[in-house]
């Protein structure tokens, strides 16, 4: 065995329209804690999914303990001693802990499941990491932190040589984080390596030996953690030049307030609380923050899709009541949701149906839908937005991500809104289509519309917004003028409450 327990060399991976990983390297020493950092969408999770057998790399080598290995399934990864603790945990809620613990590898006694042995072994591992959980409680009843620790225990039970932890502390308190670190150090002593993904810089420098930085699916470099500072890591994470990836902005936003949110609180205590902001006429207000900052929850609540416990929404100097998306639509709001697939696209319906669904009442003539009117509107708007589709009757799922996104924009433009809320408008679409979306946004501003844009991509946030509002864990941590904002200042606000 060489110097490294794991070498991932020149890994590339593409998805339709996006190059997620481009020649990435990762070298992990035995018994070390290796930090993998990068912005949202830098490709960290994709790289780990390639290692864990969820995705299959397009090119490159994975060398595990000196052996060139092709990892084709998670089962294979587990048997090779690689375990992964996912960022979002999906427990089998109504089954006891020990069942999900041994799922897929139940210990049997003849043809019967040997519950007694499994419960005992589970308890043993829990004791080892000082986790006080009864294996017979239901997974759904565990607190998020215990759930996380159970997952870690499960990784240990696989006798893993490499444990991947994707944002393990996002749901942990400080004490629980300390506990986790104690467990990690114990694992280290046993010769186990940990790949640690996190946005929390102080934490990384405290626990990790080595830092590998990624940006835009590319490998930036790898340094010993002792030689790095928080500033240096952030700079390397975000440090890229803003070239002509954005159309030239040739307007001055108005000062008149068209839309105002006053002290809005989510009905969910863990979600956003006490958010107030104003939107000016003809401006793009960016909302920045990391995963878990509750930005999507905020805009979906404004749009009437989630419950709020208190707060007011004002438009053009008048308070408006929004209880469902239909209310929002009537008040001239439009929302392009983050999850295009889950809450945007009707895959089996035609492009035409997808385009006009939100504005259907406009095409009713004598009690029936007028096909010519529907086609005329859809045709006009899709030409304007340059939607590339063989025809309007093509099934939506046959379009590329960028074109689907344009159809969704078209859908909302047909409702003639004055305020557009765009949640990650360019996620998962290629650079060319992104530029087109930006151009459309500027054209809308010219027509006197105002835009709220959530974006996790720093350059996009800085390149397109007039003002940037930053959130961290449900709090509004600051509103910056884009002239005074830079990536470091945003990142600092976005991690304000993460210690």
């Amino acid at each position: 065995m060489g110097e490294y327990v794991l070498e991932m060399n020149h890994i590339s991976k593409s998805f339709p329209g996006v190059k997620a990983l481009d020649d990435v390297n990762l070298k992990v020493r035995p018994g070390s804690v290796h930090a993998l950092v990068g912005e949202n969408g830098a490709g960290k999770s994709t790289l780990m999914k390639c290692l864990f057998g969820i995705y299959h790399k397009d090119a490159g080598d994975i060398i595990l303990e000196g052996q060139n290995t092709d990892i084709l399934s998670t089962k294979q990864a587990l048997s090779l001693g690689i375990s992964m603790i996912h960022q979002e945990l999906h427990p089998i809620r109504f089954r006891p802990v020990w069942e999900s613990f041994w799922l897929g590898r139940f210990i049997k006694n003849g043809i019967m499941v040997d519950k007694k042995t499994m419960v005992e072994k589970t308890k043993q591992i829990f004791d080892e990491i000082e986790l006080n959980v009864n294996p017979e409680t239901l997974s759904g009843d565990l607190s998020p932190s215990n759930l996380q620790l159970v997952e870690i225990a499960k990784a240990i039970s696989y006798n893993a040589k490499i444990i991947i932890m994707d944002e393990p502390t996002s749901s942990l308190t400080n004490n629980e984080t300390e506990h986790l670190f104690k467990i990690i150090r114990k694992l280290q002593k046993k010769g186990c390596s940990v790949i640690y993904i996190s946005h929390k810089m102080e934490e990384l420098l405290q626990i990790c030996d080595q830092v590998t930085i990624m940006r835009d699916g590319k490998y930036i470099g790898s340094w010993p953690a002792s030689e790095m500072t928080t500033e240096e890591i952030i700079n390397k994470m975000v440090g890229r030049e803003l070239t002509d990836r954005f159309p030239h902005k040739d307007y001055t936003p108005g000062t008149e307030t068209v839309f105002q949110v006053k002290d809005l609180c989510s009905a969910v205590p863990r979600s956003f609380q006490h958010i107030s902001f104003e939107l000016h006429k003809g401006e793009i207000l960016g909302i920045g923050g990391l995963v878990g900052a509750q930005r999507t929850e905020l805009v979906e609540s404004i749009f009437g899709l989630r419950e709020v416990s208190s707060g007011e929404i004002w438009k053009n100097g008048k308070q408006i009541e929004i209880h469902c998306s239909d209310d929002a639509k009537r008040n001239g709001l439009a929302l392009l949701t983050e999850e295009r697939r889950a809450s945007g696209v009707f895959g089996h319906l035609s492009v035409l149906d997808n385009t006009v669904i939100a504005s259907q009442k406009r095409y009713v003539k004598n009690g029936m839908l007028s096909e010519p009117l529907r086609i005329k509107s859809a045709d006009h708007i899709s030409k304007e937005l340059r939607v590339k589709t063989p025809s309007l009757s093509t099934e939506m799922e046959n379009l590329s991500g960028g074109n689907q996104q344009k159809v969704l924009l078209a859908r909302w433009l047909l409702t003639e809104p004055d305020i557009l809320i765009l949640d990650e408008p360019t996620r998962g679409i290629d650079v060319g289509a992104k530029y087109e979306i930006y151009t459309i946004m500027l054209r809308l501003i010219h027509r006197g519309k105002s835009i709220i844009m959530i974006s996790s991509e720093m350059p996009e946030l800085l390149g397109m917004s007039d003002r940037i509002m930053v959130m961290c864990e449900g709090h509004l941590t600051g509103i910056l003028d884009s002239s005074e904002a830079d990536q470091v200042s945003i990142m600092r606000l976005a991690t304000k409450y993460m210690e």
Partner: protein, 410 residues
């Protein structure tokens, strides 16, 4: 192994002409048959069927020929296209094969009367299937359909008996205008439909369990009503002639009035699903409930509308069923919902929601009637009929699903 996909290209003009010629050949064959076997009548009505089939093919060929500018000048044949074509029309092919098998055993199957019988028998089933299809399109189901049919049958006949009949349900009831009891039956079914809607849309129950609950309620309520003195659960008979005429009238002495009634309902439902905001919203909710909600579709109102309209259709179907059989018991309609669901699925409606067409549903219902009628015609025992019916459901749906990507449970 290297597979090179073969393809052949011919001009659209030639393509159209080939169809026209083969259509003419079929039609001439039919006419010749008619002339040659005129006296012996061995061929029954087959010649006329051939002429009609030939006519349809000629029409298709002509439309291809005339519209060649719009459709593109060339037709390409590839293995893939052939496969897609076969899959798309697999149901119609299988129907053809079935008919040919039956004809080869019993040639007198080839008669107008048989065709008309099959259409008449399909009519009421089609109306019920059209009601249930909306609940399937939203990835739900409706188990209360059959019992609603029974309820509507009992309610309508109970108030429409001859004054001279000995065992009247309401001995002292005056002769009501025929429309009144019919409307009462349909409205009651609509109300139970609304109950389904409330359970699903307001209380977020899965339609399976919501409609199962109403199904049980409806049967209980119907039996209680059926058991009121003096009827005491006697089958309701002595139904008025003007009521039975609603389903038993024959137009031109041959064509059952049920056929045009079902046709009208089908056209209305096609209109509702394809030409109204309500219909478009049904497909949207079935395709992606979350996206529909985000787009400002009123999901509650749409779900209510679906279940109420479905209830009304079951009620109407029940009234027709009672009129057709000139009577009713509380057992009427038992299990109809499962037949209707099976017919919809065979006709290409996806249980995962969002996919399904009126034309498919119509064909699905017809296939079931042809199977049943045809198998009875060639004296297959009812037990075997069940087996064959089950096999056909499984095979037809499996073929239909192979069109789509592999996702569990479409």
């Amino acid at each position: 192994m290297n597979m090179v996909s073969k393809s052949k290209t011919i001009s659209r003009q030639k393509y159209g002409i080939i169809f026209m010629v083969s259509g003419v050949v079929l039609a001439v064959l039919g006419i010749l048959m008619r002339v040659a076997f005129y006296n012996k009548n061995q061929m029954y009505d087959l010649p006329w069927f051939l002429v009609i089939l030939g006519g349809v093919i000629i029409f298709y060929g002509m439309s291809q020929y005339a519209d060649r500018k719009h459709l593109g000048g060339e037709v390409q044949f590839t293995a893939r296209k052939a496969k897609d074509f076969f899959l798309k029309y697999a149901l119609i092919f299988s129907l053809f094969v079935l008919v040919i098998v039956i004809i080869s055993i019993q040639p007198n199957f080839m008669q107008w009367d048989v065709v008309l019988d099959i259409l008449a028998q399909s009519s009421i089933k089609l109306i019920i299937a059209l009601g249930i299809c909306m609940t399937l399109l939203i990835a739900g189901t409706d188990l209360s359909a059959g019992r609603m049919v029974g309820l509507a049958a009992v309610i309508s006949t109970s108030m429409l008996q001859n004054p001279t009949y000995a065992n009247r349900f309401f001995p002292n009831l005056p002769q009501l205008p025929i429309i009144v009891p019919i409307l009462i039956a349909i409205v009651v079914c609509g109300l139970f439909g609304a109950l389904n809607g409330v359970l699903v849309a307001k209380f977020n129950m899965h339609p399976f369990i919501a409609t199962l609950a109403t199904q049980v309620m409806i049967f209980g309520a119907c039996s209680l009503y059926f058991d009121t003195p003096p009827n005491k659960s006697q089958p309701i008979g002595g139904v008025r002639d003007d009521f039975t005429a609603l389903a038993q009238t024959k137009i031109l002495g041959k064509i059952s009035i049920l056929i045009p009634i079902a046709l009208i309902v089908t056209v209305i439902m096609w209109f509702v699903l394809n030409k109204t905001v309500f219909g478009k919203n049904i497909y949207a909710i079935g395709g992606n409930m979350e996206a529909a909600r985000v787009s400002g579709v009123n999901v509650f109102r749409t779900l209510m509308g679906i279940f109420i309209l479905a209830g009304v259709l079951y009620g109407f179907g029940g009234v027709l069923e009672a009129a057709r059989t000139a009577g009713a018991t509380n057992q009427y309609g038992n299990g109809y919902e499962l037949d209707a669901i099976a017919a919809c699925c065979v006709g290409g409606v996806s249980l995962a929601g969002g996919i399904g067409k009126i034309s498919g549903i119509t064909i699905g219902v017809l296939i079931f009637t042809v199977i049943q009628y045809g198998l009875e015609f060639i004296n297959v025992s009812p037990m075997w009929q069940q087996v064959i019916k089950g096999v056909i459901i499984a095979v037809a749906v499996a073929i239909d699903l192979s069109k789509y990507k592999k996702v569990l449970w479409h």
